[in-house]
């Protein structure tokens, strides 16, 4: 029983990282209609930046503040310089463009940091007594912080004026443009915000995962599964999908270790057959 509870907690830790990534991917898809294959690359390079930053300046917490902002700026740069030229092209070419960007970023990682796996010294060492079990402090911090960020993102999107512009743009962006809102600036901002969230996820997972150049592709595929299960473009779908996948992976590892990587795709196939647009997606 204790084993199951601890795996559930691990599942939630994993799940909140997926939520951060899925949220960014989903917002960008909902707004821009683009499946961003470079999302995992932003995550990976943020993790590597966090590694170098912490190793040289010795302060992980500063990295947690600075690097996601840097990734947001990178996202804005990418959208402004290349991605926006592709909006009038077929969706396949938009996918291929972000795919190419991801490819380049991954090679850049291998050039500047060698291909050997790296790991960051643990942050917030020590464990905390939850009454019924012990839990690593850092993981608890991760869950609390991410929940806070997700809550703030939800508040921003659902309750503020800017959020309503984004929601309206998701429904019908030419109409929003006609209402006198500079929609291309909103697009740029949204893409930057997505990259910011990916960067945040990258920095947060740096201390608990080993860094490999391919980590971006691995997480990208999982994030796709999360988003497809939850429903493309749905924020609450990202929440449910993230937790579901995190739990599924950790609980499967108890009974079927090799199946950890396979179970999520089986889940995805079943859900897509029963609900073609995901749990909370709309047609």
């Amino acid at each position: 029983m204790a084993l199951i509870i601890s795996q559930v907690l691990n599942g939630i830790t994993l799940g909140v990282i997926y939520i951060l990534l899925a949220l960014g991917l989903s917002i960008v898809f909902g707004m821009l209609g683009i499946v961003n294959f470079a999302h995992g690359a932003f995550y990976a390079i943020a993790a590597y930046f966090a590694y170098t930053f912490t190793m040289h300046l010795g302060n992980f917490w500063l990295a947690l503040v600075v690097i996601p902002v840097l990734m947001g700026a990178l996202g804005i740069g990418v959208e402004f310089s290349i991605l926006r030229r592709m909006y009038d092209k077929e969706p396949i070419y938009q996918i291929l463009l972000t795919f190419g960007i991801a490819f380049v970023v991954q090679e850049v990682i291998t050039i500047f940091w060698d291909p050997m796996a790296k790991s960051l010294p643990p942050q917030l060492p020590g464990i905390i007594d939850l009454g019924f079990m012990f839990f690593p402090k850092y993981r608890l911090f991760l869950v609390v912080l991410t929940s806070g960020i997700v809550f703030l993102a939800w508040l921003f999107i659902e309750k503020t004026k800017y959020g309503s512009i984004i929601r309206a743009g998701t429904e019908n962006s030419p109409m929003v443009n006609c209402l006198g809102i500079n929609i291309s600036a909103v697009f740029t901002f949204v893409f930057g915000f997505g990259a910011y969230l990916a960067g945040l996820a990258g920095v947060l997972s740096a201390p608990i995962r080993s860094l490999k150049p391919y980590m971006g592709w691995e997480i990208l595929v999982t994030t796709f599964v999360v988003v497809v299960i939850g429903g493309m473009g749905s924020l609450s779908g990202a929440l449910i999908g993230g937790i579901l996948i995190g739990l599924a992976q950790c609980l499967t590892s108890l009974v079927w270790p090799i199946g950890t990587n396979i179970i999520i795709f089986i889940l995805m196939a079943i859900i897509l057959l029963v609900r073609p647009y995901g749990l909370l997606g709309r047609t």
Binding site: V35, P91, G100, V104, E107, F224, I258, F265, L272
Partner: protein, 318 residues
């Protein structure tokens, strides 16, 4: 200049017969036509039906592992091996296809990606049969007995012509398919799936047939690859490999019949030349790819065909 169009297949054959002699080494030519076949199989979906598949590494890998396992464990006849590997490629495509063709657009792409990963982890996990992450070793390239004499496939040049035979046969089949009513229906589905359905064609069934056909040819390419390198690594099933197939198709031109072969040649030649100088040549490849996506979406062949049409005024060479 009209004879170029009408005799294009003969010209292609002649060019490919002399192809190994203009390259730095003969095995490179073999590599190019094997991948040309794979990209051609991939392009049945993208070029005809407009479906972007990210699972062709898995179909290619299915053929390669089938061939390797059949040779290592059962020492089968090479032709039986090729046949069975193609069937395995087709079967895997049938399984994948049953699910993925239910969806269109980006969902199709994401589903194929998911199935590619399933295949990767299954192969990775079946250590006893596939060798897991250390790859499948001990594959050999059997000679081809032809009744009165035996073709020594150990010679790189003879092996090239052996692979060329399969490549031309597949290319011929695809070309016949393109000109047939089946090919026209596929293009109709690409242009407007709802209209195709409305005039009574079962679009999903046509897509599934195209998918299986693509899988059979990808499986054949994989089987040839297994006896070409005599080793199968789990990397060839990976997602990055699927991506490279997409890259090759786009470099050559997806709406052109010769695009896949040209794309494979460009990709492998550049990689062969650059990898000698710089280990991270893929960075340059990625940048070239981005430029193509932004400015040359028709690929090298599409660009060439436009020129041909402009100055010679004949119909496109599809």
């Amino acid at each position: 200049m009209g004879w170029i169009v009408s005799h294009q297949f003969s010209i292609l054959t002649i060019v490919l017969i002399f192809f190994p002699f203009i390259l730095p080494y003969k095995a490179l030519a073999t590599n190019i036509i094997i991948f040309g076949l794979l990209v051609m199989a991939f392009n049945i979906l993208l070029g005809f039906v407009g479906l972007l598949s990210f699972c062709h590494a898995a179909l290619f890998g299915a053929g390669a592992y089938a061939m390797g396992i059949l040779l290592v464990n059962f020492k089968v006849h090479i032709l039986l091996g090729l046949l069975m590997s193609s069937v395995v490629g087709g079967l895997v495509a049938l399984i994948f296809g049953t699910f993925v063709i239910q969806r269109v657009g980006i969902y199709f792409g994401l589903l194929t990606l998911a199935f590619n990963q399933i295949a990767y982890f299954v192969i990775y996990g079946m250590r006893n049969l596939t060798g897991g992450d250390s790859g499948l070793r001990g594959i050999f390239r059997p000679d081809l007995p032809l009744g009165f004499f035996t073709l020594p496939l150990g010679s790189e040049l003879i092996f090239y012509y052996f692979v060329l035979f399969w490549f031309l046969l597949s290319a011929f089949l695809i070309k016949r398919m393109a000109d047939s009513s089946f090919g026209k229906v596929l293009r109709g589905i690409k242009e407007n799936e709802m209209r195709a359905e409305a005039i009574g064609c079962n679009a999903k069934r046509f897509k599934l047939v195209a998918f299986v056909l693509s899988g059979i040819l990808a499986g054949l390419a994989g089987a040839l690859f297994a006896i070409y390198v005599k080793f199968v690594s789990v990397d060839i099933v990976g997602f990055v490999m699927s991506g490279e197939v997409v890259m090759m198709a786009l470099l050559g031109g997806v709406s052109s019949f010769y695009g896949p072969l040209v794309g494979s040649a460009i990709f492998l030649l550049i990689s062969d030349i650059l990898s000698g100088y710089w280990e991270r040549w893929m960075l340059l490849m990625g940048l070239i790819f981005i430029l193509f996506v932004m400015f040359f979406r028709e690929g090298v062949c599409g660009w060439f065909e436009d020129l041909f049409e402009k100055y010679v005024g004949k119909r496109k060479m599809i």
